[in-house]
Symmetry: C2
Subunit: 217 residues, 2 copies
């Protein structure tokens, strides 16, 4: 399978919940346009054009450009929350759960770096009500990670003097993967996830002998 | 001194090398405009307006919008390189140098978060020649940090199995401060620098007893 076909397949998977097909094509086109030119420089005409549709056809599915951004942000942030939730609620020690959380969260930001950039950098462009809703999803994701780190501190697995500060740094590390990751770089999304999980376990002071490569995978 | 006056003073310091005064006002106005609306959605007319000047007056100092972005990127990236260079070339152990590098680099990204966002997120908007020059500055900054981490690995101070990967993560952590930092948040730029230095020293496996609070500062 060629790179273009792979990308098309990934997009299909990424936006699978968006129906009908025309709405899905518009979401996909909007992500590409926002990532390339920024939200404010993109018009609904640009997006319709990329999706091979007329502005009037776009309007059937999305009344405004902001509605498209809100849809994209919602899907992206809900996915991030599900990833963190699955790791937080899994069986196992805090070390195992933190490894799993960082590995999957960093990997997602690499695999979906275009979408992740849009939802991170264009957050301020959301309308007030949508902004409140989306930042609510973010806070829930943050809390899940903070709880894993707190559990490890409480059980003595981690040496984390500043749990909120450590949580902030771990989230930040994973989110910024979206900025620097490129598909033609030296590391696959999987490799980034494994590297970052190892680095974060050291950051929280999880003893090396308790965290061999691949323990939780 | 009120918040607005403090901000004005910071801006003055940040762009002190830009002369004459009109050119400095334009650079400062461009940073604000790019940060708010994105590079592509900003016109030279917007920038001139913010600086209280006519488009013709802007044109005396900068022929294009890209020239302004290039000037801003150059100043920002040269400052980042100087910060990293000062830490790398200082006397002291790799632990002390890494603490100093991370503390000052993270602090700079907090203090100058608006500028840092623009130079990080709008890199792709530079013309080909300017892009090559700016990415050259970035590579020099990266190499300085990598050398500190390599020195620590060689001397046995650090346990860094993957020096390039660790370098990437440390830079990424510091750069992303620009995304999440707000002046009204719970941490000062100085506190962010100290927290991040501690977390990074753990990440490279610098033993805790060798890295007490404030050792290098």
């Amino acid at each position: 399978m060629g790179a273009a076909a792979e990308r098309a397949e990934e997009e299909n998977e990424e936006w699978a919940g968006v129906t009908p097909d025309a709405a899905r094509r518009l979401v996909s086109a909007a992500v590409e346009a926002f990532a390339e030119r920024g939200y404010h420089a993109t018009t609904t005409r640009d997006i319709a054009g990329r999706a091979g549709m007329s502005p009037a056809a776009l309007y059937i599915h999305y009344k405004t450009k902001e509605e498209l951004l809100y849809r994209i942000s919602g899907i992206g942030h809900e996915k991030a929350l599900r990833i963190m939730g699955a790791a937080a609620e899994a069986e196992g020690s805090a070390t195992e759960r933190l490894r799993d959380a960082v590995r999957t969260f960093a990997r997602w930001h690499a695999e979906h770096h275009t979408t992740a950039r849009v939802i991170q950098y264009e957050l301020q462009a959301l309308g007030a009500e949508h902004y409140t809703e989306i930042t609510g999803l973010r806070r829930r994701t943050d809390r899940l990670l903070r709880q894993i780190i707190q559990d490890g501190a409480d059980s003595g697995e981690f040496r984390a003097d500043d749990v909120p500060g450590t949580t902030l740094a771990v989230l930040s590390l994973c989110v910024d993967v979206a900025r620097w990751f490129t598909a033609d770089g030296p590391r696959t999304p999987d490799e980034v996830g494994t590297l970052y999980a190892d680095l974060v376990l050291r950051m929280v002071g999880a003893p090396a002998d308790r965290t061999p490569e691949g323990q939780a995978g």
